[in-house]
C-alpha cells in the first residue's frame, strides 16, 4: 500500500525537520585533533564517525519532510476489540512487531483490563497464562513476535495444548514488504506466522483489515473456550496496527457480539446406558483426568462417587476431588467390573500395564479383569490433531461418550439416582465402608513413610511438605506447582478440598513451565489474598529465571521453595537404566545430568532479581523458621524464595 498524505492525519508537523536540522548543527562532530588523541590514550578509544555520518551532520540540511501523527491508529480499534473480550492482563515480552498495539494498550487503553505484565521471555508469557488460567479459569492475552517470539513461546504453547488450557496469543507481523524497515524487520517477518504452532493450536488467522481482525478476534475466543479448550493464535499486521483507521471505516467498524457456546453434554440415551452399567456394577471405579473444568465439577464428582460407592483414582491433572474424602485414590481398576474414565487423556495407561524400561521389547496388556466394561466421557473425542501424539494410545472401550465430562455429570448423576434401588444403595454403602477403610490405611502408610529420613540432609521431600503444611494449614493457601517430582507428598499429607488448592502439571512435561506457571497462578490468587505456594524444581527454574523479576516487579505474592536436588533427576535414573541394560559401569551416569561444580545458589539468584530469599538450607531443622520468615514477606504482598537442598524425589 502506497503511503500517501491524507486529510485525516492530524498533527501534521510541517517544517519540523528543518528545526531539527538546525538543532543538529550544534552536534557537529569535528575530526579528532591532536589533543583529543592524547586524551584517547588514557581512555578506551571511541569509534570515529564514518564519512557518511560526518557528511550527514556537516552537510546541507535535507529538504523538509512530513512527519505524521494520528489520533486513531488501527491498534486503537484492535484494543477496543480485545477489551471487549474482558482480558484481565497481557503477558508479554516487548517486540517491535507489535509496538503499535503495545502503545495503544498503554495509552489509549489506559493499561487497565488488560494490564500489561512485563515478561522476560515468551516461554514465560505463555506458561504464566497457563498457570493463571488454572486458578482463575479466565484466559490471558499474550503477545509475541511472529517469528523469534513465537519460536521462544512454542514449547509453552504445546504444554498448554496438551493440558487443554486456553491461551490467546497475538503475533506481531509485518506482512506488507514495503513496510519492513531494514534487516531486523525482514528477519522478523513471516509469510504464515502461525504455521509453526498450527499442529498444537486450535485455530488461527491473519486478518488483512481491521474489520477482519474484529471478527477473527471474537471467533478465536469462541473457538478457544469451547471444550476441548486449546490455545489460539491471531496475527496483528504491523501496517494495520500503525496506520490510521481509514476514514471511511470509522463509521462502519463493528465489534461482533461474542457468545461462548455451552459445553457439549453427553447424548441422553448414552448417558442412561452409562448410568445402568454403573449402578449395576459390583465394583465401579472412576478414573478422573481433567474433569474439573470449573469449580462446579468437584461437588458433582463427589456426589457421583458417593452415590455409586465408587473409588476415585485421580490422575492429578486438576483439582478434581478432595484428598481427604474417604473415596479419594481408592478402588482398583484391576478388580473393577465397570471403569468410568472422565476426561482421561491417558486412559490406556490407566487400564494397561507396559513393559518397564528395564526390560527389552514392549508388551502391554490390560489390567482390567475379563468382561470389565469401560466407559469414557471426554471432549477429547471431539477434536484431535495428527502430528503431535499427545492423544495417547487408542483404547477400546464399551461406551464412548463424546462430550465434556463436567457438562455431562448433572445428567449422569440424575440418571444414576433414577436407577438406584434400595438394594443397589445398600451395596454402594457397603463398598463405601470398605473403601473408606482402604483410604484410612493409605493415610496411615503415608504418615509412617514420611518418618523415614526425617532428620536427613539433604532434606526429604516428605519433610519439606510437612514443614510447609505446618505453616500454611490455617491460611487460605493454593499450591501452584506440580507434585510429580516430589513423590506427590503434598497430596499425601495436605488437605486439598478447594478448587484453587491444586493446579496439576505441565500438560506435556515441557520443562520450564513450573516457575512461570506458578507466578501466573499466584497473580490470579493475589486479588483473593491467597497464599500461593510453589515447590520449584531447580532444573525448571533455569529455563526462564527472569520470571523471578516479573514476580518482584509486579509485587506478586508467592512463596517458592526450591526442590534443589542439583540435577535432572529423571534423566539421571534413565541413564543408569541404560548403562545397566548395556552391562556397562554405572559410575559415569552423572555426566550431563547433574547441576554441580559449582552448585547453583538460588537464594543469590532470587536476590539478584530483587526478591527476598534465604538459604541454601541443608539442615532440616532450619526449614521451619525459614518458611515462617518467608511467609511474613509473602503476606505483605511480595514474593519470597527459600533455597532448600533436597533429596532427589
Amino acid at each position: 500500500m502506497a503511503k500517501t498524505k491524507k486529510l485525516d492525519r492530524r498533527g501534521f508537523l510541517k517544517g519540523a525537520s528543518a528545526g531539527a536540522a538546525a538543532g543538529a548543527a550544534a552536534l557537529v562532530v569535528k575530526p579528532p585533533a591532536a589533543s583529543a588523541q592524547q586524551t584517547a590514550q588514557a581512555r578506551p578509544a571511541a569509534p570515529l564517525p564514518t564519512p557518511r555520518q560526518v557528511a550527514l551532520e556537516t552537510g546541507t540540511p535535507p529538504a523538509p519532510v512530513d512527519v505524521y501523527t494520528t489520533d486513531r491508529p488501527g491498534a486503537d480499534f484492535m484494543v477496543d476489540v480485545l477489551k471487549s473480550l474482558d482480558f484481565e492482563y497481557i503477558f508479554a515480552n516487548p517486540g517491535s512487531s507489535f509496538r503499535g498495539l503495545q502503545e495503544s494498550f498503554i495509552n489509549y487503553g489506559k493499561n487497565t483490563k488488560p494490564e500489561w505484565i512485563t515478561c522476560c521471555h515468551e516461554e514465560q508469557s505463555i506458561a504464566m497464562a497457563h498457570g493463571y488460567y488454572k486458578i482463575e479459569r479466565k484466559p490471558i492475552l499474550t503477545l509475541a513476535h511472529g517469528t523469534v517470539g513465537l519460536q521462544h513461546a512454542s514449547m509453552a504453547i504445546y504444554n498448554a495444548y496438551a493440558d487443554r488450557v486456553p491461551v490467546y496469543l497475538i503475533l506481531g507481523n509485518e506482512q506488507e514488504i514495503a513496510y519492513r524497515r531494514g534487516d531486523v524487520e525482514w528477519t522478523h517477518s513471516v509469510q504464515d506466522a502461525a504455521s509453526m504452532v498450527r499442529d498444537y493450536t486450535k485455530w488461527d488467522d491473519s486478518p488483512v483489515s481491521l474489520g477482519h481482525f474484529a471478527e477473527s478476534a471474537v471467533r478465536a475466543y469462541k473457538v478457544m473456550m469451547t471444550p476441548p479448550m486449546e490455545p489460539v493464535v491471531l496475527c496483528a499486521n504491523g501496517q494495520l496496527q500503525e496506520e490510521p483507521i481509514p476514514e471511511e471505516e470509522r463509521r462502519t467498524l463493528r465489534i461482533p457480539k461474542m457468545t461462548v457456546p455451552t459445553p457439549p453434554a453427553g447424548d441422553p440415551s448414552a448417558v442412561n446406558e452409562a448410568a445402568k452399567m454403573l449402578v449395576n456394577a459390583e465394583n465401579p471405579v472412576i478414573v478422573a483426568g481433567r474433569v474439573a473444568r470449573t469449580p462446579a465439577a468437584i461437588p458433582m464428582l463427589v456426589e457421583l462417587a458417593e452415590l455409586l460407592g465408587a473409588g476415585v483414582q485421580d490422575r492429578k491433572f486438576r483439582m478434581n476431588f478432595p484428598s481427604h474424602h474417604p473415596l479419594f485414590n481408592t478402588g482398583n481398576v484391576a478388580t473393577a467390573d465397570v471403569v468410568l474414565g472422565l476426561e482421561v487423556p491417558d486412559f490406556w495407561q490407566a487400564t494397561h500395564t507396559m513393559t518397564p524400561i528395564n526390560r527389552m521389547g514392549m508388551e502391554s496388556h490390560a489390567i482390567t479383569k475379563p468382561g470389565a466394561k469401560l466407559i469414557t466421557i471426554t471432549a477429547g473425542d471431539l477434536f484431535s490433531r495428527s502430528n503431535y501424539q499427545d492423544f495417547g494410545r487408542y483404547t477400546p472401550v464399551d461406551l464412548a461418550i463424546a462430550a465434556d465430562a463436567e457438562a455431562t455429570l448433572p445428567s449422569l448423576i440424575e440418571a444414576c439416582k433414577r436407577l438406584m434401588t434400595p438394594d443397589r444403595k445398600r451395596a454402594a454403602e457397603e463398598r463405601t465402608k470398605k473403601l473408606a477403610e482402604e483410604h484410612r490405611r493409605n493415610r496411615e502408610r503415608d504418615l509412617q513413610a514420611a518418618t523415614v529420613g526425617w532428620d536427613a540432609s539433604p532434606v526429604t521431600t516428605a519433610r519439606m511438605a510437612a514443614e510447609l503444611w505446618n505453616q500454611i494449614e490455617h491460611e487460605d493457601w493454593s499450591l501452584v506447582s506440580d507434585t510429580t517430582f516430589v513423590s506427590w507428598w503434598p497430596l499425601r499429607l495436605w488437605k486439598f478440598d478447594k478448587p484453587y488448592h491444586y493446579i496439576g502439571g505441565h500438560g506435556a512435561y515441557g520443562i520450564g513451565y513450573g516457575a512461570p506457571a506458578a507466578v501466573g497462578a499466584a497473580l490470579a490468587n493475589k486479588k483473593y489474598g491467597r497464599i500461593s505456594v510453589n515447590i520449584q524444581c531447580d532444573g525448571d527454574l533455569n529455563y526462564v529465571p527472569g520470571v523471578l523479576w516479573t514476580a518482584a516487579h509486579h509485587r506478586i505474592p508467592l512463596l517458592s521453595i526450591m526442590h534443589n536436588n542439583r540435577g535432572y533427576h529423571q534423566e539421571h535414573m534413565f541413564l543408569q537404566d541404560m548403562a545397566s541394560r548395556a552391562g556397562r559401569g554405572i559410575e559415569n551416569v552423572s555426566v550431563g545430568v547433574t547441576l554441580e561444580d559449582p552448585h547453583i545458589n538460588y537464594a543469590t539468584l532470587a536476590k539478584a532479581y530483587g526478591m527476598y530469599s534465604s538459604g541454601p538450607i541443608e539442615n532440616p531443622n532450619d526449614l521451619g523458621p525459614a518458611i515462617k520468615a518467608a511467609l511474613e514477606v509473602v503476606k505483605k504482598g511480595e514474593p519470597a524464595l527459600i533455597d532448600l537442598v533436597t533429596q532427589p524425589r
Binding site: A450, T451, T461, M573, S580, I586, P648
Partner: protein, 115 residues
C-alpha cells in the same frame, strides 16, 4: 565323595556367612557411587521411583537375587556391573539406615493423624 560334598557345603556356608556380614562402610561408598540414592533416596526412604530400602527386611541373598532379577521397574544389575560382595556391603549399609519410626515420635506428623 561324601567328604568332598561336606567340604563343599562348609565352604559355601562360610562364603554365605561372609556375604551376609558385609562391610557397611564400603556399602555406603558404593550406595553413593553407584547411585542407589537416585530412586531410593539418600536415607533409603524410597520415592515415587523406588521402594523404601532403609533397614531392609531382605536378607543379603534376597537383595542380591532381587537386584539380579528385579520384578518391578528397577534396572537389573549384572555381576559385571556390581559384584555379590559389593551388594552384600550395600545390604549391610542399608541395615544401618533407620526404618520408619512411630508417627507419634514426630510431632509435625502426629498432628496430621486426626485430620
Amino acid at each position: 565323595m561324601k567328604i568332598i560334598l561336606l567340604v563343599t557345603a562348609a565352604l559355601a556356608a562360610s562364603i554365605g556367612f561372609a556375604q551376609s556380614g558385609g562391610n557397611a562402610e564400603n556399602g555406603k561408598r558404593l550406595f553413593l557411587r553407584d547411585g542407589c540414592w537416585e530412586c531410593h533416596g539418600y536415607a533409603g526412604q524410597g520415592s515415587r521411583d523406588g521402594a523404601r530400602i532403609a533397614s531392609t527386611a531382605l536378607s543379603a541373598q534376597g537383595l542380591i537375587r532381587y537386584v539380579r532379577r528385579p520384578s518391578g521397574a528397577m534396572p537389573a544389575y549384572i555381576d559385571k556391573v556390581i559384584s555379590d560382595q559389593e551388594l552384600t556391603d550395600i545390604w549391610a549399609y542399608l541395615k544401618t539406615l533407620p526404618g520408619p519410626k512411630p508417627v507419634k515420635d514426630v510431632p509435625l506428623l502426629k498432628s496430621l493423624e486426626n485430620e
